[in-house]
Subunit: 341 residues, 2 copies
DNA sequence: GCCCACAATGACAACGTTGTCTATTTTACT
DNA sequence: AGTAAAATAGACAACGTTGTCATTGTGGGC
């Protein structure tokens, strides 16, 4: 049915090994034969059988490990990874999992053994779990991490890092420049380093501007809408009312916006809100959300390209790469002064 | 490194073929040997190599073909499919594509050839393209479609269908019961059958209630936020102002909500809005969106389970299955009477 | 007690690739 | 021109599985 390498060889009048060489661009085949083979490949629309290749030892698929309830995040990641896979002729095997599960390591190992992927793209929070990394290292599995951190967070292995701290600093500075002093911080899951990094940036900006850090304005929680609603409600009914809220991602910000509405607090006149992520929601909410843009798709694409490089030529052939989210000012923030007007 | 069938055989003291038989539950192996083999498998934590299996002819992965910009939709589909794959020991290869592309058929065929998936789950609009189906049939590829339609839409092949028409009828009837007469309909991409099905339901309900169909209130467009904004603006500035809008999905509804806000139209007091999908946005917007719930995840899971059945025992062993979206009443709709109050 | 049928097991080929080794041709240098 | 080295091409094994066929043992019917 489907053409094999031998069919091509027969048509081109060469040995099937020669075809293999052409397909794999070994460059040890003469011009004329090469052309003949190429022509035969096109005529039969030959595609090498990945299973056979893999069986022989050359992996041609990679795995994408994630634990994230945020659809936009996952889909964007996936798009980036898939794009690069497609470009380089790799297949993608996706594997959602639960970071909290006790069997997560067995699960990942099982998946790798079963599908024989040649490498893994890890995203937070799995990419930040030392116990997972150490098992992967022990088994000499190739992987590239996407994680939060400033300038190569470590040298364990190549990674793509996102400088959440600096971005959070910029956001906070922006709010301060608008005249805000009572700026609340709604954190994300503690398991995610991005959450603590962003908090560091927030604190640093306050400090640099000589604004005292009010612990009542810092509320931990989850990266979810519901958590945003709940915490904002607490905050608005609490002793120190914030004039601005820095939500650790857009979903939390969505919750803040919602809770503000319920309580009749006008946004941005009475309360400025900043999110993080530049999700579709931030562009569809009313008012549009001021937020920080993470080029998730590009990040995923770069991580994949690093991974493939690592798979081909080893960890040393590659350098970690950083991304720096940009502040996107929209309509959910305004100067604190206009509150009085 | 990784244990093979031969390692297991050696440990159990049998031929590797016997191990193969046990693994594949052929049932022609004696009790005692079976136990020995099982024990060895557990001890080595043996996992059969999928590539080798596939090479030999038994497919153990399926493909998921989609062309949909809606992250929630795709992610939910994917979750449903993955869940079933995981349960049944299949791998998932995902393949986003563009239905409008002229090379879509070649692309799908190429993907199937390359990765040798044993079957495909097709979602709209690809599942509704006869030219794709006919090529798949010609190549005897197994597939299950997810599509829009009432009671087995056709008998081309097994499918999972969603009765959009009846759901749309219910939505429209609900609005009529609230006293609305000027009900606008914002359609989705024409390439999607769901859009026309929903329009049919809308028209039928108006007809049954003896309300004249006003063509100015029916506006075609895309399944997108921007399209919703644009069309709502037109509508609100047009000659016949609607008291209610039936948006063909939640993204359009989000656009309608946004446009209403911009123009200072209060929702739901001055304008009732209904969406379709029960996306996260519908629960996060303010006010919460009245919408129709599609159990996308369950639908995807059923489609996958049908597909695997078809792969194992053929098309005839399986029957198509229908799903019926439920109306979810929330806060974006209210009786038309209260407008006067 | 003999033969046949049937169950249980094993030996071996095949799937479509790539790696390794060997054979042939060409090139380049003395 | 002769020879070594390099370039090119092919033969064959191997990857880990499953299908096919052959072999062995076991029990039942005559």
């Amino acid at each position: 049915m489907k053409p094999t390498i031998k069919d091509v060889a027969k048509l081109a009048g060469v040995s099937f090994k020669t075809v293999s060489r052409v397909v794999n661009k070994e460059g040890t085949v003469g011009q004329d034969l090469q052309e003949k083979v190429m022509k035969a490949i096109k005529e039969l629309n030959y595609q090498p059988n990945l299973s056979a290749r893999l069986l022989r030892g050359t992996a041609s698929s990679i795995g994408f490990i994630y634990d994230n309830p945020n659809s936009n995040y996952v889909i964007d990641m996936q798009r980036g990874i898939l794009g690069e896979c497609h470009r380089q002729g790799y297949e993608l095997v996706i594997h959602p999992c639960e970071a909290k599960s006790k069997t997560i390591i067995d699960e990942i190992i099982g998946m790798v053994d079963r599908s024989r992927v040649g490498g893994l793209v890890l995203t937070p929070p799995v990419s930040e779990m030392p116990e997972v990394l150490s098992v992967l290292n022990k088994r000499k599995l190739k992987y590239v991490r996407i994680l939060s951190g400033a300038n190569p967070p470590d040298t364990i292995s190549p990674c793509v890092f996102i400088d959440d701290r600096t971005a959070a600093y910029k956001i906070t500075q922006y709010l301060i420049d608008l005249g805000h002093k009572a700026i609340a911080f709604l954190g994300g899951d503690e398991a995610h380093k991005s959450s603590t990094e962003r908090m560091e940036g927030y604190k640093a900006a306050l400090k640099d501007n000589k604004i005292a850090i009010d612990k009542k304005l810092i509320v931990g929680g989850e990266y979810s809408f519901e958590s945003g609603v709940k915490r904002t409600r607490q905050l608005l009914n609490g002793p120190t009312k914030p004039t601005a809220v820095f939500a650790c991602n857009d979903e939390i910000a969505a919750g803040t916006l919602f809770a503000a509405r319920i309580q009749g607090v006008e946004v941005p006149q009475q309360l400025s809100i900043v999110g993080f992520e530049d999700s579709p929601f931030s562009r569809q909410a009313w008012p549009n959300l001021t937020t920080a843009q993470q080029p998730i798709r590009t990040i995923a694409q770069r991580a994949t390209s690093l991974l493939i490089e690592v798979m081909k030529h080893g960890e040393k052939s590659v350098e970690s790469e950083g991304f720096y989210p940009e502040l996107i000012v929209r309509d959910s923030t305004c100067p604190v002064a206009s509150r009085k007007g």
